[in-house]
């Protein structure tokens, strides 16, 4: 699948992951990719190469926690959930993003 040019996506990966986990509950890496892709109507596509290192880092920062579980298909998968610290981080990043968007929109719509 061709990837659309979304250099902006990388900076917001943490935000997307945290939000998704917050909304959807525990998910594995593949699930995260899928959710983001589908909800955004294919506009945002997570590159797996960035996702797993990001997940790893977020786990070290204690924003998410992980558990190995068996899926309904019988496979072993590592599920991630958001932590209390992660929720705080989510609020911060959300706020930052909102501020950023606001600012940009104001500039773009200034006449």
């Amino acid at each position: 699948m061709p990837k659309s040019p979304n250099d902006k996506l990388q900076g917001t990966l943490t935000l997307l992951v945290l939000k998704t986990l917050n909304t959807r509950g525990p998910l594995h890496g593949y699930g995260l990719c899928e959710h983001i892709r589908s909800v955004s109507d294919e506009l945002l596509q997570v590159e797996e190469g960035s996702l797993y290192p990001a997940l790893h880092r977020m786990e070290q920062d204690h924003w998410i926690s992980s558990k190995w579980e068996i899926t309904n298909k019988g496979r072993q998968a590592k599920f991630y959930s958001i932590t209390a610290k992660g929720k705080k981080q989510l609020a911060e990043e959300n706020e930052s993003w909102a501020r950023l968007t606001r600012g940009v929109m104001r500039v773009l719509t200034y006449s």
């Binding site: 900076g11 935000l15 506009l43 945002l44 600012g103």
Partner: protein
């Protein structure tokens, strides 16, 4: 090199900054300080660009050919470099704006509706 997270954030900001600069120049050529001031004004103080990053960005845009620069006299009688959009730059502005809107929309879908402005 800053952490990977910072890396991503920095690239995000870089892209955004380019967009803001191009947008500001639509209304006419400006010198560096003027651009910074306009961005601050137009964003209603959300962005306060430090001159270091600004000039780096301007240099980058100049290299890409999206803006060009000329020496002129500023309003307090000082010599300054005035930046103006090129045709190419104008085109890029349109692209980047639509790109931004798309992504903003996509993010909103995932993040939920934005809180209304205070």
């Amino acid at each position: 090199m800053p952490s990977r997270q910072d890396d991503e954030r920095t690239s995000l900001l870089q892209g955004t900054l380019d967009l803001l600069i191009l947008r500001t120049l639509v209304l006419g050529s400006q010198h560096g300080q003027g651009i910074a001031r306009l961005i601050q004004q137009q964003s209603e103080d959300v962005f306060l660009v430090d001159h270091g990053s600004l000039y780096l960005a301007l240099q980058r845009l100049e290299e890409k050919g999206w803006v060009n620069a000329k020496w002129g006299i500023s309003e307090n009688n000082r010599r300054a470099r005035f930046y103006a959009l090129t045709a190419k730059g104008r085109g890029r502005l349109t692209d980047k704006t639509s790109q931004w809107r798309k992504i903003s929309r996509a993010m909103t879908r995932i993040l939920g509706p934005e809180e209304s402005e205070a």
